[in-house]
């Protein structure tokens, strides 16, 4: 919609968006050079919630670092748990029972839906519509209850263990999840009719916030941001891990490169996650949830290990450099929103502030994960 305009760099003023601003959803600060309501450039200032998670990973044992993973991206904590235990298991060569892997996939996918529901509500709130947030949180509440029953936590899960999971799922979990699937399908239909097809929403998202595939490649953007730009990349399919190969599901890819494409990717992903959950429940094998023999103290052999998983916001990678000690020599966490955020500056130039903040919402930022 916004016509190309000639910006004059000598008549700008600085607008400080954040660290306390309703649109940044956390302590992100964006220093915007503005020309009227048009953005000339936007500098992202990070570090307001930096907690040195990577350093903590180096001066704690592997088991002690496990709870930290739930505090990175508090909205999809389960995927981060999963990535870390997979990386350590790969390093130590621990065999995981099949039932445990199924349970992990179940919890991760449930968590992915709950994360997308928060994004959905908050994103529409960024656009000025308050009501969808309440509906999304209502549905999310069902997931939180299910996961609380089995993990004991509602947000910062620490459920996955090296070699398996903390405890077995019970009938409540299975019944609850089975009841949740049709409920969520119905809710998705409501969202589609009430929100996705709303004309104001379409006008505000279509052709706004262009992120080309080339740009995603340069900044390392992954997840729904890349898939909304026509890049068919999902770690679950491209570098299969866990038991994801055994399910039949699609990776939604849109080629429009605008905010609406990213919106649609996430809405479709919820449906695909439901499909995975359905199949995982049907195929759920019996058996132990922890391996019979597992090293008491985790001491990976000397080496360099990397494991990536598909978190709700993109590819989350963990690199562990071990010198054979019980602490890691180097722990590097590659968080998806850190990369996704940085294309904001390039993409938002010449945009109106209202569109730019809608665009920022479509990137789905979680600030504690960016700062780590």
């Amino acid at each position: 919609m916004s016509a190309p305009i000639q910006l004059r760099s000598d008549e700008t003023f600085t607008l400080n968006v954040g660290p306390q601003h309703p649109a940044t959803h956390g302590v992100l600060r964006v220093k915007m050079e503005m020309d009227g309501e048009y953005i000339y450039k936007a500098e992202t200032v990070l570090g307001y919630i930096h907690r040195m998670h990577e350093k903590m990973g180096e001066n704690r044992t592997y088991a002690q670092f496990l709870p930290n993973l739930g505090r990175l991206d508090y909205l999809s904590a389960m995927a981060y748990n999963h990535g870390y235990v997979l990386a350590v298991e790969r390093a130590c060569g621990i065999e995981v029972p099949e039932r445990a892997e199924y349970i992990r996939v179940l919890t991760v996918e449930l968590n992915r839906i709950s994360s997308h529901l928060v994004w959905f509500g908050a994103f529409i709130m960024d656009l000025g519509g308050f009501t969808p947030l309440m509906y999304a949180f209502d549905d999310r509440e069902a997931i939180l209850d299910i996961l609380e029953g089995v993990t004991g936590a509602r947000l910062t899960y620490c459920y996955h263990r090296f070699g398996g999971v903390y405890n077995d799922i019970d009938d409540d979990f299975i019944e609850g999840t089975k009841a949740f699937i049709p409920r969520m399908r119905k809710a998705l239909k409501v969202y589609e009719n009430l929100v996705t097809k709303n004309i104001i929403l379409m006008k505000r998202l279509k052709e706004i916030g262009p992120v080309s595939a080339e740009m995603c490649r340069r900044y390392g953007a992954t997840g729904p941001v890349a898939r909304g730009s026509g890049i068919n990349y999902d770690v679950r399919k491209n570098e299969p891990y866990s038991v994801y190969n055994e399910f039949d599901y699609d990776i939604p890819v849109y080629h429009e490169c605008d905010s609406y494409a990213r919106y649609m990717v996430r809405m479709d992903e919820m449906e695909q996650s439901l499909r995975i959950i359905e199949q995982a429940l049907a195929k759920l094998p019996e058996g132990p949830i922890m391996p019979a023999k597992k090293p008491k103290i985790i001491k990976p052999p000397v080496g360099d290990y990397y494991q990536a998983v598909e978190a709700a916001r993109g590819s989350f990678g963990i690199r562990i450099v071990s010198n054979g000690d019980k602490n890691a020599y180097r722990m590097k966490l590659r968080s998806p929103t850190y990369s996704n955020m940085h294309l904001f500056d390039e993409a938002c130039r010449g945009m109106l502030i209202a569109d730019a903040l809608a665009f920022m919402g479509s990137l789905d930022l979680v600030i504690p994960e960016m700062d780590r």
């Binding site: 308050f130 209502d138 502030i353 209202a354």
Partner: protein, 328 residues
């Protein structure tokens, strides 16, 4: 003291009372309405159904410190909230609630109300300019371009109605429609076939004039924090807040008078004033409904809607009505 002076004083007190009471309880309605649309109960703590919420809110606001940030333009900063509330109250003076319930009827009632309505955007401008805050300034610039863009189609539509009636007296405009609901201006297809469209334009414009969602760009909190009232605390903010609701009542009253036959009732069941209030509150409910259903538009979307769609249509309607009046 002469009798007229007492009359005027009584009228002013009644108008202020009506405006303040409505403003306070519309906040309650809004919150209950929002709760209804969002599947939650809304306020419940104070009094039955949370009915004591407005006075409690008022006390809270009044006991808060009125912070005047350093470097603000003090005169503008202090005048702006008063200017937000005062025109709304003044407009009530000339609104006829029924044949004989009107504080002070004027033969140029329409003109007076729109003159005061234009002052409302003054207050946003002063608040934004005086606050010494970039967000407030951007918001007030938006608010001014918005009210210019929407006052034009609104006034053109009003001229259409005035042409049909031949009077600017609100009472005469209503009496023109009281014969039956087919006489209401919104259905008056014989006078001008585009009358329902005019009604729609007027309704959209009154949404935009009162800065209501989806046109609440002045206080778009995801972009401009709180817009023009970012720096206001205590009753400074409270006056803006009440002014907004008083303006909604004015907008709904005007729509009722100009298009929905004022106190005229479809089948004389209740006294006219009840019908008037019923219509007004139904319109207000629609305002609330719209706010909690739609996302916000953008400033260019809003200006495009006004200049490219509403103004041409309302101008065409004006010409058509004028032509029809000339011919028949």
């Amino acid at each position: 003291m002469s009798l007229t002076l007492i009359n005027v004083l009584f009228a002013v007190v009644a108008a202020i009372g009506f405006a303040a009471l409505n403003a306070a309880y519309l906040v309650w309605c809004e919150r209950k309405g929002a709760g209804f649309f969002q599947r939650r109960p809304g306020p419940t703590e104070n009094g039955p159904w949370g009915l004591l919420q407005p006075p409690v809110d008022g006390i809270k606001l009044m006991t808060k410190q009125l912070i005047i940030p350093g470097g603000v333009d003090k005169a503008f900063f202090m005048v702006a909230p008063v200017l937000a509330m005062f025109p709304a109250i003044m407009s009530f003076v000339t609104i006829p609630f029924s044949e004989n319930i009107v504080a002070h009827n004027m033969d140029i009632g329409v003109l007076m109300i729109f003159a005061f309505a234009s002052m409302g955007s003054m207050s946003l401008l002063l608040a934004g300019w005086g606050s010494r805050n970039k967000y407030s300034l951007m918001s007030s610039v938006r608010a001014v371009s918005q009210s210019i863009a929407y006052e034009i189609p609104m006034l053109i539509t009003v001229i259409t109605v005035v042409m049909i009636t031949g009077s600017m007296d609100l009472k005469v405009i209503v009496e023109d429609q009281t014969a039956g609901f087919w006489q209401w201006n919104v259905f008056a297809l014989l006078k001008s076939p585009l009358m329902p469209v005019s009604f729609l334009i007027f309704f959209i414009c009154s949404l935009a004039e009162t800065n209501r969602a989806p046109f609440d760009l002045g206080e778009a909190e995801s972009e401009l924090v709180a817009g023009f009232h970012t720096e206001y605390s205590s009753m400074g903010f409270g006056l803006f807040f009440m002014g907004e609701y008083a303006n909604i009542v004015i907008g709904a009253c005007l729509t009722t008078i100009l298009f929905l036959g004022g106190w005229g009732c479809p089948f004389g069941l209740l006294p006219g004033v009840w019908w008037f209030l019923l219509k007004v509150y139904l319109l207000i409910f629609t305002f609330i409904w719209i706010r909690w259903t739609f996302p916000r538009t953008t400033i260019y979307g809003l200006l495009n809607l006004s200049w490219k769609i509403l103004i041409p249509i309302s101008l065409f309607n004006l010409l058509l009505t004028a032509g029809l009046l000339k011919v028949f």
